[in-house]
């Protein structure tokens, strides 16, 4: 063969599979609705301190300007905020997907470390303080959050039970009423959106990682590895998640992180089955055989040639998995075994039925939020399934 230099044209943009799926996903109305709701939820969760807080955003007292809100921001608030902007920046970078994920995890870890070691908000918080100062006329200028109540700003001193229906008292504006401790329901729901999002993503993330690795190994090696792996899957499928959660709560107390981990390590079996089935099918595909025949290392065959091709059904299962993790947490909180003081949608629902009267606002708003979130993830899952399924695509085209 003659040694000649061929002119290689400049890289022309050509639609990859991912781009195709995304564009066909965005064509669907149901996907748009689902994504819009989840996006709204992400925004609310990120900016929840600015949306609902008893601390004024900006305040001038005796000629001295200050921002009590920024002073009282928790480390977690800073992590959420910076995480949001890091995600925006990284998604704009043009690097390989797995590098993005690594980079994202690394930056979140760094930010969390900095936040938890340097940010120390005042331990004692007296919310009444601001209202008293305002009433006494000491404040020159004040800018408050749209909902001027923190999630833990209990107003039980004002009434007998503290529980108020929406807009029933003239001097205070509670758009969605208050709960039995007199805390603003709207504010608690806004702050609880973090738990809903966090538990969905982290629990499903843990399940996804374990499931993909075990399922991938079972599918690729088959034989004895497959037999052992499938028995493991069956054992884990036999564990009732809710009862396990209940007993862990009974023994080790209540912790949202423990719940995430438990939901994660009991939910992986489904993903493992999906990945195994995909890998068993993919292993016989010609391009995988060709990759083996080219002498490529196992790492490349598994992660570059097989995993991206087997990801489609996994994505669909994931969006349903997120929905069911949110439901699990809501169930636990509803049963009164969720978090003690921190807000959660399920806990608000629980209060709706506990008092002697039926407090509709405690049922409708959190119930609606749970319903909408689970519904949004299911919508997204459904449209994702249609978008990755070549048969439904063909049906739309022909």
């Amino acid at each position: 063969m003659t040694e000649q230099v061929v002119d290689i044209p400049v890289k022309q943009p050509s639609k990859s599979w991912t781009q195709q799926v995304v564009s066909s996903l965005l064509k669907r109305t149901s996907a748009k609705i689902g994504l819009a709701w989840i996006g709204l939820l992400v925004l609310i969760a990120t900016f929840s301190p600015f949306l609902a807080s008893s601390h004024p955003l900006y305040m001038v007292v005796d000629g001295q300007a200050s921002s009590p809100l920024l002073q009282h921001m928790e480390p977690l608030d800073w992590v959420w905020l910076s995480g949001f902007f890091i995600t925006l920046v990284i998604s704009a970078l043009s690097i390989v997907a797995w590098k993005k994920i690594l980079f994202w995890i690394a930056s979140i870890a760094v930010v969390s470390f900095i936040a938890y070691s340097s940010v120390t908000p005042p331990v004692l918080v007296v919310y009444e303080h601001y209202r008293e100062m305002e009433a006494a006329g000491k404040v020159d200028t004040i800018i408050r959050a749209p909902i001027p109540y923190s999630a833990k700003d209990y107003l039980r001193d004002y009434a007998d039970t503290g529980i108020e229906s929406p807009l029933s008292v003239n001097e205070r504006t509670h758009w969605m009423g208050t709960d039995e401790n007199g805390a603003d329901v709207a504010s608690r729901m806004i702050h609880a959106s973090r738990i809903a999002l966090g538990i969905g993503f982290i629990a499903t993330g843990i399940a996804l990682v374990i499931g993909t690795i075990i399922g991938g190994l079972m599918g690729y090696f088959s034989g004895i590895v497959d037999i052992i792996g499938m028995r493991l899957v069956e054992i884990f499928e036999a564990i009732p998640t809710l009862f396990l959660l209940l007993s862990f709560v009974a023994f080790f107390g209540r912790s949202i992180y423990m719940m995430m981990v438990i939901i994660g390590i009991t939910a992986w079996s489904g993903y493992a089955r999906y990945v195994r089935a995909e890998f068993l099918k993919l292993r016989q595909q010609d391009f995988v055989q060709a990759a083996i025949a080219s002498g490529l290392p196992l790492r490349s065959i598994l992660f570059r040639h097989m995993l991206p091709n087997g990801l489609a059904p996994l994505l669909v299962a994931t969006s349903f998995g997120v929905a069911s993790a949110i439901l699990a947490e809501a169930t636990l909180s509803f049963l009164g075994l969720g978090l003690v003081d921190d807000p959660s949608w399920g806990q608000l629902l629980n209060q709706a039925v506990q008092s002697s009267t039926f407090n509709w606002w405690l049922a409708v708003f959190p119930g609606g939020a749970i319903f909408m979130t689970v519904f949004a993830y299911n919508l997204l899952g459904e449209s994702l399934r249609d978008a990755v399924d070549p048969h439904t695509n063909r049906g739309m085209q022909s």
């Binding site: 063969m1 022309q12 060709a290 025949a293 002498g295 022909s398």
Partner: protein
């Protein structure tokens, strides 16, 4: 006696504003007792024509801006029916009773959860309600005997999975013919079958046609089949009928240049380049290789038996030579190919690559050796990773084997090989779904070539392609072997391809090697009975055929 008359048929497929003209102004006439063959490459609109006649196109996704299809009864007893845009009621009464259809894929065209008998009976229940149960059973048995299914009495209680592909296609024919339709439409009924089975099915259809005086509209892409079965042939291209006429005239003396190019592209009609004489140098040697698959049963999955896929096969491939491995499907040729590449463990025997025994080499030690032996697979749809651009597919193996010092240099090498397989260099940045089947096979060949292998295994790489595309790839392969001195094992069932490409051939039958030797000699005087069957069964359009009378 006119049976079916299609006039100026136009079929457009699509929806909303996007309409694609799949059939463009086609007129044809099928007469009773005559076979009209529609031949063309994939995408030429031949199947759409058949589906338009049957009214089987997907609801709401087609339209007929023009055209007329008239079904007449040769006996003059039944009314004439205009089939195009007829209502469902009319179409249902015609389908099965007056017009029947056989599809390509015998594996999926029978309902797997019903017995053969039930499926045949259903047709009778609908179209012959006057028959009682006993009469129906007699008719079913007669129909199965007609298509030469052994032991019809026992077969009617069996499910489709118990039958082979050929037998299923016979059942499909029985189902189509049970109501004695005047017109039979067959859409590539033998394409999915082995050549020997194809020969039997074609003969059966011919016999049944003569017996019942049916008209037949036969769709195929294979000129060999056309030569065997057609009275009249119509050549389709891009929805248009470019040429039609008596089979003998068209095949001997094609007028349209497209027909001429199609016939010239048949492997048996390709001009053969002179082959350089090379010193014999053994590249790959296979000695007594057997591959058994364990058959496991029961709770403990004990090995109760072995399925013998390959048994005691020995062969050798020299550098700069193409050896064809021929046999029916299921004879073990693909398993043998995979075993040669160590993609499948060998039960016994040994494989030598350039004198080195690679049979027991560990998977890790095998990796560097893989550079010397490459493979191209059959299915162009799955031979390239759909998620990776061609650039990555080509560069990655080079990087692993240390070819080229930088990615820029490897890109140059990749571009050169793309040039070699006659693909534009901007293919590098594209994804597999942007290419046609033939182009993908070229890219798969390029992937094999970038490693500069000594040996390439080609597993039926042209069997899913159209003849003209196949011709291009065959020419390319021959060039590569002659110029680069690569040794090639070419697995195929197409005798025309063997004749064109192979220096030597080996024939496998039921896991065993039955004959091997020089291609020309075996073609001329096959020694083994199975080889003879295989050669006889292949419909070919060579000089001898054209010289003889049809």
């Amino acid at each position: 006696m006119k049976l079916l008359e299609v006039e100026n048929l136009v079929t457009e497929l699509g929806e909303g504003e996007n309409w694609l003209r799949a059939v463009d102004n086609i007129s044809l006439t099928v007469e009773a007792g005559q076979t009209y063959c529609l031949v063309g490459e994939s995408g030429s609109g031949k199947s759409v024509t058949a589906l338009s006649i049957m009214g089987l196109l997907p609801h709401g996704h087609y339209r007929h801006p023009d055209g007329h299809i008239q079904l007449t009864d040769p006996q003059g007893q039944l009314p004439d029916i205009a089939l195009l845009n007829a209502d469902d009621e009319t179409l249902r009464s015609v389908r099965g009773s007056r017009v029947a259809m056989i599809f390509q894929e015998p594996m999926t065209s029978l309902n797997p959860v019903q017995t053969i008998g039930e499926q045949l009976e259903e047709v009778l229940l609908i179209h012959r309600p006057e028959l009682d149960e006993e009469a129906r059973k007699q008719k079913i048995l007669a129909a199965l005997a007609e298509v030469r299914i052994p032991d019809p009495e026992g077969r009617i209680r069996e499910y489709p999975h118990r039958l082979s592909g050929g037998q299923r296609q016979r059942v499909m024919i029985a189902m189509a013919l049970i109501c004695e339709p005047a017109l039979l439409i067959a859409d590539e009924p033998t394409t999915a079958l082995d050549v020997t089975v194809q020969a039997e099915i074609l003969k059966l259809m011919r016999d049944l046609q003569t017996k019942y005086g049916m008209g037949m509209l036969f769709i195929t892409h294979d000129f060999g089949v056309v030569a065997q079965i057609a009275d009249v042939v119509g050549v389709m291209r891009k929805g248009k009928l470019v040429e039609s006429g008596k089979t003998a005239d068209i095949l001997r003396n094609p007028q349209h240049e497209y027909t001429q190019s199609l016939i010239a592209a048949l492997p048996e009609r390709l001009t053969r380049p002179d082959r350089p004489v090379k010193p014999e140098k053994v590249l790959l040697e296979v000695k007594d290789v057997s591959v058994y698959f364990p058959v496991r049963r029961g709770l403990m999955r004990r090995v109760v038996d072995h399925f013998r896929a390959v048994e005691n096969v020995s062969l050798q491939v020299n550098a700069g030579e193409v050896v064809a491995l021929v046999g029916e499907s299921g004879c073990g040729k693909t398993t043998l190919g995979r075993a040669l590449l160590r993609l499948q463990e060998v039960t016994s025997g040994s494989i030598f690559l350039e004198g080195q025994d690679i049979t027991q080499v560990s998977a890790k030690a095998m990796r560097p050796l893989r550079r010397r032996m490459q493979v191209v697979f059959q299915d162009p749809g799955s031979s390239l990773n759909p998620r990776l651009p061609i650039h990555t597919t080509l560069i990655e193996p080079m990087r692993v084997h240390g070819i080229g010092s930088s990615d820029a240099e490897r890109t140059q090498i990749a571009a050169r090989f793309l040039d070699r397989v006659e693909m534009p260099t901007d293919s590098l940045w594209r994804y597999p779904h942007e290419f046609s089947g033939g182009q993908r096979q070229r890219l798969a060949i390029a992937r094999a070539l970038v490693l500069e292998p000594r040996f390439i295994l080609c597993d039926e790489i042209t069997s899913a392609l159209d003849v003209s595309v196949q011709a291009g790839i065959l020419r390319l392969l021959r060039q590569l072997v002659d110029e680069e001195g690569i040794g090639m094992l070419f697995i195929t069932h197409n005798m025309g391809v063997v004749d064109y490409l192979a220096d030597r051939m080996v024939v496998m039958h039921k896991a065993q090697l039955v004959e091997s030797g020089n291609t020309q000699e075996i073609m001329k005087s096959p020694q083994n009975e199975h080889t003879r069957n295989l050669l006889d069964a292949v419909p070919r359009l060579d000089d001898n055929y054209l010289a003889s009378a049809i």
